[in-house]
């Protein structure tokens, strides 16, 4: 009887197990334990959170493996880590460390300006960012098992993430109503593989789980992204840049799972202390926009 390691179903299934959950950025074992106690379904092990990457400038790379290993030892929930776009070797290193998911992420400085990693070659699953349906389907064609909005990482400003999820959902609705000949033209227009576009047309949804990321700073932001059709939420800088990370993390977890319970959301939003300060998008220079990395 056959056994297949790292099949498409196994890799996509891992993301399905994370649905309705919150994945939190952490930079050490102590933060990872706080995230786990707050109810995170996974943690993203990083050297710096996106807002600090932004502040530091320079080239941002894969985290030091010792940080990732510390985090993996500290918690029993899955651990994710980021590699640079197109950096096949960073991805292989992360796979050899045994991380449960790799984020091929625009938060780090891209290593390849033309190609993303061929993710089908790996038994570890990948998540990738997308601003629209075409980009999402291109990443899925390369083997991504999970998609997230790009948003604008490290800004604490939800506007870009909202733009991206609305774009994807709107395009899906449009594709569902198209005839097959229109689908061929649409595949060309949005740069999506026809077979995947046909699948979206037939099922009315992406073939993989789609999370929100890039600017979630409050429980209400998390609930907003769920309301708009996200399957779950990544919170980067928001939690550990807030005054009381544990309370804040718990509130985001509960808000994500109960995004339609407005009495509860009101309660969760009370007395959380100061959230991260945030950046108004118009003050960012074009070269400071991480969402424009990748294609």
């Amino acid at each position: 009887m056959g056994t297949t390691v790292g099949s498409e179903r196994v890799k996509r299934g891992m993301a399905q197990m994370q649905k309705n959950g919150v994945i939190m950025d952490v930079i050490n074992a102590e933060q990872a334990k706080i995230a786990e106690a707050a109810g995170a379904v996974a943690v993203m092990a990083l050297e710096r959170v996106p807002s600090d990457i932004r502040a530091a400038g320079g080239v941002a790379r894969m985290a030091d493996p010792s940080i990732i290993e510390q985090v993996m030892k500290a918690v029993s929930i899955p651990v994710m880590a980021k590699c640079r776009i197109g950096h096949v070797v960073e991805a292989r290193i992360l796979e050899s460390l045994g991380v449960d998911y790799i984020d091929e992420s625009e938060v780090l400085t891209p290593a390849d300006d033309k190609f993303h990693v061929n993710k089908r070659d790996f038994t570890v699953p990948f998540v990738c960012g997308a601003r629209d349906l075409g980009e999402a389907l291109r990443r899925i064609a390369e083997g991504a098992s999970m998609i997230r909005t790009k948003g604008e990482p490290g800004t604490g400003n939800i506007v870009e993430a909202v733009k991206h999820i609305r774009m994807v959902q709107g395009q899906i609705r449009k594709v569902v109503s198209m005839s097959e000949d229109e689908l061929v033209a649409e595949a060309k227009n949005i740069g999506a593989p026809f077979e995947l576009l046909l699948e979206v047309h037939n099922t009315g949804k992406l073939p993989v789980v789609n999370f929100a990321a890039g600017g979630v700073a409050t429980p209400a932001d998390a609930a907003l992204m769920m309301e708009l059709g996200s399957d779950g939420v990544f919170v980067g800088s928001g939690i550990f840049k807030s005054e009381n990370p544990e309370k804040f993390g718990r509130a985001v977890v509960e808000a994500t799972m109960n995004y339609k319970d407005y009495d509860l959301l009101a309660k969760l939003s009370k007395d959380l202390g100061t959230p991260m300060k945030g950046i108004e998008l118009s003050t960012l220079q074009a070269n400071e926009r991480m969402a424009d990395r990748g294609w």
Binding site: M1, V10, Q16, N20, V41, D100
Partner: protein
């Protein structure tokens, strides 16, 4: 006249919609369970896969913990997959505190390795026909020890991966991620016999 069989799916986190779709496909009515009230009138309850640590915390917080235990004491059939198996287990290896502690099994979490080692395998499940079942194992647990009253339904390389104890059913794998409906049909039959009581 037959009454519709209502099967609840614990709706906290994880593969909830996948189970609900399978429940519909086997001709039962899926009910999403988020509050204790949602348990009323059910003939069965599914605890889906997800993160057991997260789900375990939240069922305590939302007041579902005691009501699920009480429902089980009344004989309500409960089916746990993967994380759901961990929630049902009386003992978890590594002395971690158990969750619902209903089923007389000792489980080991993530016993097949990390995500990169997750796999699919064809296995034989007791009580199904001879066709192998496509079992999907994702950071899956397994049963290390099963008590006297526990029936072993499937093993893989000497590890126990499916068990039944009276009204409780648990698999280490994810039948909701395949097109094979036999595990859900099996559970529907358990729910029907509860309804008939």
């Amino acid at each position: 006249m037959s009454v519709t069989v209502k099967i609840g799916v614990l709706n906290v986190q994880g593969a909830v919609s996948e189970h609900a779709i399978h429940v519909s496909k086997v001709g039962a009515e899926p009910v999403l369970v988020k509050h204790a009230d949602d348990l009323t009138g059910l003939h069965g309850l599914i605890l889906p896969g997800g993160e057991s640590t997260t789900i375990g915390k939240l069922i305590r917080k939302y007041g579902l913990f005691e009501p699920i235990i009480e429902a089980s004491q009344q004989g309500l059939p409960i089916f746990g997959t993967c994380a759901g198996m961990i929630l049902l287990a009386k003992r978890i290896e590594g002395s971690e505190e158990p969750h619902l502690a209903l089923m007389d099994v000792l489980v080991n979490r993530n016993s097949f390795g990390r995500q990169r080692d997750s796999f699919e395998a064809d296995i034989f499940v007791e009580g199904m026909n001879q066709d192998p079942f496509p079992a999907v194992f994702i950071r899956a647990p397994h049963v290390v020890k099963a008590g006297q009253g526990v029936q072993i339904l499937a093993t893989l390389d000497d590890r126990i991966v499916a068990v039944r104890e009276n009204h409780l059913l648990a698999t280490a794998f994810h039948p909701e991620l395949t097109d094979d409906l036999r595990m859900h049909q099996y559970f529907k039959q358990m729910a029907e016999s509860y309804q008939a009581k």
